[in-house]
Symmetry: C2
């Protein structure tokens, strides 16, 4: 009796225990649990009973050890290591963009019963930590959101043989899967709209030049504007934050007081522009039209409601997750990339 008690206290119940109670072998219990091969219905029932009566819970580590599956995926928020630009450290998580990515990842992961483990690799040390974690097989694959084009993470993952999918194309082509937005098209959409509205003295608030998406949005915008006969546009670079947007528009307004249109490379910066324009007594959209990018919650947070280029972040993140799951299930397949099309959402600001 004391033996029983002691073991009940010290050890948690194992397959062995369940097998003993059910009067079958360990292997049979395992088969019932994993639902493979034919097991006599009567025995199945008695095993189930034994599981319930013992309160048995399989041990994840032991299972992982033999199946070589961790049962979790990593969501890596990765920076350059220098972070000269872009929001640093924990601030990344405050960006509505991050929440939308998580949301999309969950949409795709939920049916599979998997959970994402979050990793922040914004400094060399943190990156090594994350990489070690992944190499040890603590996660079956990685989804990477880079905040910087020079991010070495994708290449390192590739080298380590960790299945990975990127949110956003890498700067230099790599044989690695990714989802991305046709950012140039998005810039074009914004340009066409502002031009059609009659804006002729347009400025742009660019994202960090180290971020490919930011460059592409600006390039698309400038190309389209050039086609409309406006080849030279003043622009200021900011860090994708609202405060950065405020500083950028302030500078632009001093240098170009007659501005009648603003394109910001994301909604947060556009919102900063809106706030400063209001401080300066400019009416939006009457005096100055403003177009943002993303269609995040920031777009509808204030007044006027922001006209913006929609990036379907949730869908993109869900697709990223699905691609990763597919890579894990069928490692032999090559890299694939899916490019989403942006769309213009016209609200009040332009």
């Amino acid at each position: 009796m004391s033996e029983v008690l002691r073991s009940a206290v010290n050890r948690s119940t194992t397959l062995e225990d369940v097998a003993r109670v059910a009067g079958v072998s360990r292997a049979t219990v395992s088969r019932v649990i994993n639902g493979i091969r034919n097991v006599d219905p009567a025995i199945q029932e008695s095993v189930r009973l034994a599981i319930a009566s013992t309160g048995y819970v399989p041990n994840g580590a032991a299972r992982s050890l033999v199946t070589r599956r961790a049962g979790s995926l990593a969501l890596v928020v990765s920076g350059s290591g220098a972070e000269a630009d872009g929001p640093a450290g924990g601030e990344v998580f405050t960006d509505p963009f991050f929440g939308r990515v998580v949301s999309g990842v969950f949409q795709a992961l939920r049916p599979q019963g998997l959970h994402p483990v979050l990793m922040l690799a914004d400094a060399p040390e943190a990156r090594e930590q994350a990489l070690a974690y992944l190499r040890q097989g603590n996660a079956d694959g990685a989804m990477v959101v880079s905040t910087h084009a020079e991010d070495p993470m994708p290449a390192l993952l590739l080298e380590a043989g960790v299945p990975a999918v990127l949110f956003g194309r890498p700067d230099r082509p790599l044989p690695i899967s990714c989802v991305d937005l046709a950012n140039r098209d998005g810039g074009r959409l914004a340009a066409d709209h502002l031009h059609a509205r009659g804006c002729r003295r347009v400025v742009t608030i660019a994202g960090p030049s180290g971020v490919r998406a930011a460059r592409d949005r600006l390039a698309g915008f400038h190309d389209a504007m050039a086609r409309h006969g406006l080849p030279y546009l003043p622009h200021a670079e900011a860090d994708f934050t609202q405060a950065g947007g405020e500083r950028a528009i302030t500078r632009l307004l001093i240098e170009h007081p007659d501005t009648d249109g603003v394109f910001a490379a994301n909604d947060l910066m556009a919102q900063g522009a809106l706030a400063v324009l209001r401080d300066h007594g400019r009416r939006v959209p009457e005096d100055v039209a403003v177009v943002g990018f993303d269609d995040s919650s920031a777009a509808t947070a204030g007044r006027p409601l922001l006209t913006t280029v929609r990036q379907p972040v949730e869908e993109m993140a869900a697709e990223m997750t699905r691609i990763l799951l597919d890579h894990i299930a069928r490692p032999e397949r090559g890299a694939t990339s899916v490019i989403f099309e942006p769309s213009l959402v016209v609200r009040q600001s332009a």
Copy 2:
């Protein structure tokens, strides 16, 4: 030779391999890696060399199996299962509150080299999944952010013997650790400020009545206002979202057009109020003063800048994490709770 090649392809290198290369035993290599007990510096060096030359990476699952440590903590976003109120599903992640929690968790986790695994337990099925994952020992403990007071998760975790810490006190007292804000004090702070400003026809936008924090904020506000001689205040309930705040204030303004002060139980709803007040041509703070709650990014996103009651979410989340780590390290210790004090941040809106 073919034997060597095959094993190099099929299996990843193990401790055994490293030991063979270094000419020592498995145990010694393990000791070097984990840095325990004295190992001759010369041997240490040769082991390190062998590790480098073989590209050895320890197997996390095998280690977990014997140490009974997963090396990760769960961050559970948990709902009631019904979700009659409060933001549902993936929307939780869009709330700036969530980002701040994640940020705080990372602050505390980073020095430990641990990573949080995210779990969404908003429906009974998802809750079971999450619970199973935790019981299997895939995480060493759980941090729980409940979106509803009736949330059964805390009690279930307690029952399962999973170390856990809550963000926000449970509705009914449980022997479980938590961090929380003195929400009543926060409500009082807002009331005193509005009253001192001269507001006498004040309305409140409450959070979901199923959320304890929301009730406490409102109660604190009402108590203080009653002490100031204003015992009856109109209020409307909303769901902590901006859209909900907009609906609530719209209703309140119809019923009480002479309103001169608004207290919202969080910044998102306050921002909704700001937007609608602007649509109605009311000036803030001249005609109507508005006080929010949280001091999230939403408070400084628009204009006027929001006067709000600050909740130090990041610090609270970091503390929650530290408490959990402590519980895991010293399971014998009892539950502790840490209550943070709110503070008023006066900006433009009141």
